[in-house]
Amino acid sequence: MPTKIEKDALTGTDTTGHEWDGVKELNNPLPKWWLYTFYACIAFAVVWMVIYPSIPGWKGTSGWVAREAVVAEVAAAQARNAPMMARLREATPAQIQADPELRAFAQAGGRVAFANNCAGCHGAGGQGALGGFPSLADDDWIWGGSLEAIQHTIRHGVRANESDDQRQSIMPRFGADGLLTRAQVDDVAEHVLSLANRATDPAAAARGAVIYAENCVACHGDRGEGNREVGAPRLSDQVWLYGASKRDIVAMINNPRAGVMPAWQGRLDPAMVNMLTVYVHSLGGGE
């Protein structure tokens, strides 16, 4: 408590009683404009607290809820896009791509949908990732890179236990189930390397060619060209889903891995699927 309140001789104003090294503070009144602004702020705050949910448990007289505001905004945005989405739902991906207006909308919407749903596995730019996440930006497709094929894959997924329409392929576990001996697996791997001119042991590759003809040709083709009907990857190129080294190839023959992609039909609006189709097609690998 300040105790030594005294009247300042020069100004006639009381001091506050505070003193610092002989310097005393005059107790001048606050400027009126400042004081009234301050009171106005207090009044504003009180009114605000009554109208809005300001204290836990108090809902406010206005009934305003942040969540409802967001929901309304989202609904408004969706309503704004509704005519466009309806057109995207009706059109085929090919029709969307042919129409500049639809294409621009699908590209923009597809980019966002891709980031939300696909980028987790396929990467932000569709570059994929080693270990079973295919690149969507290159020119190598397991199930096809046409608009129809991409749309089908997005709709039904890969090994997704969705329906008979899903992409389904199973490679036998040649090593693990004892279909081939270790030496045979090694020879076949050498032959697979030779399909892309990477073999280092011609003798082993020649032995492997026989085993390849008996076990692998049905799906992967004579010269390892692959088969999109059954989702058998091309072996004669430089793109490898599970690694390009001989060690990786041996591991795949012994105990093949089979990645799963969810079916997006039912999860995403058909218009969204179409937008994604057009966007993925534009990443660079579209056929």
Binding site: L10, T11, A124, Q127, Q238, V239, L283, G284
Partner: protein, 502 residues
């Protein structure tokens, strides 16, 4: 202002305003009742006022045909579409430096004018001065001249007082509303926004800025007036740095006027202490106290004094636009002389023509010329067609099935004209680099034809591929060029092609 030698008598007589002297630091505003004045300066001021207000209120209504789908308002800041229209000029947001340049030009012009002619800006063209003058004119029209207004304010708050005050403030508010409305028009189509405001259908933003500018016009021109210049505006403070003893400023020729006294007293100077100069002053000061911050240099006291001198049959120009250098020269020449005809002649003979060419003014003029030239050059060389390229960074590059490498780019054609003719895109890169632009046709020579968007940005996805087997560095410079129909390169930009680290 080194040679300032004006009489400080009036000020010196007052006690110093400091707490030590027992004076409060705060002083209430003393209301100023400027008296009506006639004369040359006043006529010029009226002309400037009419010109400035006409410019401000009429400009948004001028039309300028730019073709269909484009605003036809001559001067318009189109925030929603990010365009600034000024007659034939159309600026994009990235060209806002033209606006900055115009402001710099304005600043240097202001410096130059101030160093030559003093506070011409403050006294004649500053919006605060112009609108205050207009409001004072309304005030005088409704409440009468100085004496009538003072009487009205000192008299009872009767019906007459209420009527006149209400009428004054009503007209002020109308002017203020027109001012706020005109401001909004610079950012919206004038006819439609006027209609929207009047019918209550304008947006909240429009009403906000309308009210903001109307409110502050009313507040600043109706109530605050000279306090804006004296307390709020920084310009009077640093303007002193532009003025020197060779600048023309409004001054009282004390060597001629002092000592003040009765007209018939032979021992007194020309100043008859009639206070005409004080009564007409819009900031309520006495110019005879010498140069002071509050003086906005409007020169109304010149007119007031001239009319008094004219009535007394004495030469005009006791208060005049004069340099401080001349003032001290005259004072020196007449120091020992008694008042009278001889002193006047000697004082006037000691004057020289104002020195307009001096290092200071030359520097301002030089800066003005340089900035003007730079601005003009930048404006004339301003590109209306740009191409920008953004290389995809995720993925940095794509390895293809044949071992080739592919990069993806986003090419944007920035077209500031309404021209829509397509342009061919060509890639300047080492042998073997192939370019594909998605979703566009090719021209006769197999080059991708990119259409432009009129007054907009067209965006394309471009893939550049190096086939397998060709060695490629981890970074190769490439250039994209746009060719018009005649094969001339109209725009180009460079980027890089990324490959794996060797």
């Amino acid at each position: 202002m080194s040679t300032i030698d004006a009489p400080h008598r009036a000020k010196a007589d007052r006690p110093a305003a400091s707490p030590a002297a027992g004076q409060p630091l705060y002083a209430d505003r003393v209301k100023v009742y400027p008296k009506r004045v006639f004369g040359r300066v006043r006529s010029v001021k009226w002309a400037v006022l009419v010109a400035c207000l006409a410019l401000y209120y009429v400009l948004p209504w001028l039309r300028w045909d730019r073709g269909p789908g484009v605003p036809d308002q001559a001067v318009l800041v189109d925030i929603a579409h990010a365009r600034l229209f000024f007659f034939w000029v159309e600026l994009w947001p990235q060209e806002i430096y033209f606006l900055a340049g115009a402001l710099i030009l304005g600043a240097f012009a202001l410096f130059a004018v101030s160093s030559l002619f003093g506070r011409l800006w403050c006294g004649f063209t500053c919006p605060q001065t112009v609108w205050t003058d207009l409001f004072m004119w309304v005030e005088r029209w409704i409440q009468g001249d100085r004496n009538a207004r003072m009487k009205l304010d000192q008299g009872p708050r009767d019906a007459n007082w209420w009527t006149r005050k209400a009428l004054t403030h009503g007209v002020w508010l109308l002017i203020a509303a027109a001012t706020g409305g005109a401001w909004v028009m610079y950012f919206n189509d004038a006819p439609s926004v006027t209609h929207a405001i009047l019918t209550g259908r304008a947006s909240l933003e429009v009403y906000f800025f309308f009210a903001l500018f109307a409110g502050f016009t009313y507040l600043l021109a109706g109530w605050a007036r000279e306090q804006v210049c004296t307390y709020m505006c920084p310009w009077p403070r640093f303007q002193a740095a532009m003025l020197d003893e060779n600048s023309l400023v409004v001054t009282y020729r004390d060597w001629r006027g002092e000592p003040r006294g009765k007209p018939r007293d032979a021992a007194t100077g020309d100043c008859v202490d009639c206070f005409a100069c004080v009564h007409v002053c819009p900031t309520g000061i006495d110019i005879r106290d010498g140069q002071q911050l509050e003086c906005i240099g409007c020169g109304l006291c010149v007119d007031a004094c001239d009319s008094v001198m004219g009535k007394l049959g004495r030469p005009k120009g006791l208060i005049a636009f004069e340099t401080l250098r001349n003032l001290s020269a005259s004072a020196a020449a007449t120091a020992a002389m008694p008042p009278g005809e001889a002193r006047f002649k000697a004082g006037m003979a000691a004057r020289h023509l104002p020195r307009f060419i001096r290092p200071r003014t030359m520097m301002y003029a030089g800066a003005l010329a340089v900035v003007s030239l730079v601005m003009l050059g930048a404006f004339l060389l301003r590109s209306t067609l740009d191409v920008t390229v953004i290389r995809d960074r995720a993925p940095l590059f794509v390895r293809l099935s044949d071992g080739g490498i592919r990069n993806a780019y986003t090419v944007k054609i920035v077209n500031k004209t309404r021209e829509e003719a397509p342009l061919a895109l060509v890639l300047q890169a080492p042998e073997g680099f192939r370019m594909v632009v998605q979703d566009v046709p090719d021209d006769a020579e197999g080059r991708p034809l990119l259409s432009r968007r009129a007054d907009g940005i067209a965006q394309y996805r471009v893939l550049v591929t190096v086939p397998g087997g060709q060695r490629v560095a981890d970074s190769t410079p490439v250039t994209f060029r746009l060719l018009d129909a005649t094969g001339r390169a109209v725009a180009s930009t460079s980027s890089t092609f990324a490959g794996p680290r060797p």
